[in-house]
């Protein structure tokens, strides 16, 4: 059984270099070629490079930096028809409004609820799947399973929402199965039960991303020292114990790093699933922060209020990642920063 089953083709063996940190340091290339005495001369020689990068720098500033400047809207009573200097500044008024609104707390609860469910079950499912796949003996079937498992990752949430509603409909396969094995007496209308909405979203999430998320754990498992398994076998450890005592601990650093990153994103669960799977009946449980910002900020033209929601989300996200990181540091595990 080959441990290294990832379909990494030789020609795409990209050099793995810590690029981000490298920018400030000297590269392998000479800083300047001979004959280029001063900056102006260099600039003239690099006309083409400048032309090839400048448009995209402008793009970055317009599409990525200008929206950040838009955060000022949260501290104004923003009126689209007025210019920046004609806006009236209101300080933290919109944040106070936000914290006084019960709907906001419901949105927060739904976001964190679905975020935690997704994090817990998503991580468990991915690790379990990677562990089991790693233990598979039948190589061809192993590859086939892996290939099929990440197919749902590439289809859009619109399609997944279609699939989920079809599968869970009253006369759909899931209800047929449940009634035929006698688990329930009458079909359940999953999509119209507010109490089930978090579960439906989590199930959809697990179905869509388990195969994809497992790749990274699976890749980490391939790096486990085979000698450890040999030694365990000599000691008479069963396959189950090998999984539990060798494979799982060997990928612990990966698990911790991904957990920290995912906790930072707990509040950034987006709105696609909730928007596509939700309906009027379950809206109470489907309203997440992004949808709230969308409904109020754009739907009701309360731009400043919507921006304040966005800022709140960013702040929470930063706090979460810092806390998760320092907790991991305290308990002596690997950390991201």
């Amino acid at each position: 059984m080959s441990k290294n089953l990832l379909p990494v083709t030789p020609e795409v063996n990209m050099p793995v270099t810590p690029t981000i940190n490298q920018t400030g340091k000297k590269g392998k290339q000479p800083k300047r070629s001979p004959g280029e005495k001063n900056g102006w001369q260099r600039l003239k020689n690099q006309k083409a490079l400048l032309l090839m990068s400048l448009p995209f720098v402008i793009w970055l500033i317009v599409f990525r930096y200008l929206p950040v400047l838009g955060w000022t809207m949260a501290f104004q009573d923003y009126q689209p028809q007025n210019s920046f200097f004609e806006q009236s500044w209101v300080g933290l008024k919109h944040f106070r409004d936000l914290f006084n609104e019960p709907t906001f707390y419901r949105a927060l609860e739904n976001t964190i609820g679905m975020g935690i469910l997704g994090l817990v079950f998503g991580t468990l499912a991915a690790i379990t799947f990677a562990l089991l796949l790693n233990e598979m003996r039948f190589t061809k079937l192993k590859k086939l399973t892996q290939t099929i498992s990440y197919l749902p990752h590439f289809v859009s949430w619109v399609i997944v929402a279609n699939i989920v509603t079809t599968m869970l409909s009253i006369s759909g396969p899931v209800n047929n199965l449940l009634t035929s094995i006698g688990l329930v007496d009458s079909p359940i209308n999953f999509m119209a039960r507010p109490g089930m909405f978090w579960g439906v979203v989590t199930a959809a999430e697990v179905w869509k991303s388990t195969g994809w998320n497992a790749i990274i754990y699976f890749a980490a498992m391939a790096g486990t020292d085979p000698q450890l398994y040999e030694a365990a076998k000599v000691d008479g450890a069963s396959r189950w114990r090998q999984m539990w005592h060798i494979t799982l601990p060997s990928i612990r650093p990966v698990i911790i790093v991904l957990l920290i990153l995912n906790i930072g994103n707990l509040i950034n669960i987006g709105f696609e699933k909730q928007m596509l799977l939700g309906n009027n009946i379950v809206s109470e449980r489907a309203l997440v922060i992004d949808l709230y910002a969308l409904n109020y900020g754009i739907g009701m033209f309360r731009y400043s209020f919507g921006t304040a929601i966005g800022i709140f989300k960013s702040v929470i996200s930063v706090i979460l990642i810092v806390v998760a990181n320092s907790v991991a540091k305290k308990v002596g595990e690997g950390r991201v920063f």
């Binding site: 920018t23 599409f63 598979m136 754009i298 919507g306």
Partner: protein, 294 residues
């Protein structure tokens, strides 16, 4: 590794993995079966992975009916093609200038780029920007905001860093300018990463629906397949919630909305299946490369 005998453990694993395959594929096959089955017959229920009364009627309705989806299909293809081509040109160009360590603005541009990975303005400011730029209900709203992603640029640059400098140096000796080097040497040598990123861009473009919903709802010509599907889903959601909607769009003639919905789902899925073998071949490298960076 020497062969060991098959144990109960292996059989359990085998069954579990076959279970995973079934759970993943059954929904797709079920929907395919419904889309190819007679609508009235489907209503009887009990349809699994093959059609009982085979018919093309649902697909004929989509492409031949009064409210046909040719325009939405064409728009999906157009935005995918244009978005992928412009996206890959932009990403490779910027990546190349950043892979040139002697480039005078290398460091500042790298910093400007990397910061965008961590800071984002959020939904409302981006919406206001698109409005201010006059991109509402404009085809460019599909192309411009998705032109670059810092992650893609960094992946491409990492690949270009691995191209031997001697090649570009010798071309320079022969009098090639930087653009010629980029186009004639760097791009041909970077084809694996260009292919990977192009596929990702294409999948992203094909799957987008929210930009249509938010920015291009006012222009029916800009509707895409995913958006049409989303609208139908929205209507069925309302119905499944037992709220009778008077304005539910009925595209159906002989067939029924559910079967049509399944047929559109299949049409929106097939292109992904077509590029899947290629995606599958390349993407793991991209993913693990990104993972090492974090």
């Amino acid at each position: 590794m020497k062969k060991r005998r098959i144990t109960v453990f292996d059989i359990v694993l085998l069954i579990l993995m076959i279970g995973v395959i079934i759970v993943t594929l059954y929904p797709f096959l079920n929907i395919l079966a419904i889309s190819l089955n007679d609508a009235t017959d489907t209503a009887r229920g009990g349809l699994h992975i093959y059609p009982r009364q085979f018919t093309w009627a649902n697909y004929q309705e989509i492409f031949g009916g009064r409210n046909n989806l040719w325009s939405a299909f064409g728009m999906s293809v157009l935005r995918t093609v244009v978005g992928t081509v412009t996206g890959i040109i932009a990403s490779t160009m910027l990546a190349y200038t950043l892979s040139r360590r002697d480039f005078i603005f290398n460091v500042p541009i790298s910093i400007i780029l990397v910061i965008t990975m961590f800071v984002s303005g959020g939904l409302i400011p981006e919406y206001m920007l698109i409005r201010e730029l006059g991109l509402m209900n404009n085809f460019l709203v599909y192309i411009l905001p998705l032109l670059l992603s810092a992650f893609n640029v960094i992946v491409i640059r990492s690949f270009m860093d691995g191209i031997p400098i001697a090649l570009t140096e010798s071309a320079k000796m022969d009098g090639a300018n930087d653009f010629t080097i980029f186009w004639k040497i760097i791009i041909p040598l970077s084809l694996p990463v260009v292919a990977t990123i192009s596929l990702f861009l294409a999948v992203q473009q094909w799957n987008s629906w929210f930009d249509t919903y938010l920015y291009a709802r006012g222009n029916a010509n800009l509707s895409t397949l995913q958006f049409e599907l989303m609208k139908i889903l929205d209507n069925t959601n309302i119905q499944s919630g037992d709220v009778t909607s008077a304005n539910a769009e009925i595209i159906a003639g002989q067939t029924n909305p559910q079967s049509i919905q399944m047929a559109i789902t299949i049409i929106a899925t097939v292109p992904i299946l077509l590029v899947y073998p290629f995606l599958q071949r390349y993407f793991v490298t991209g993913l693990t490369l990104g993972a090492v960076k974090t």
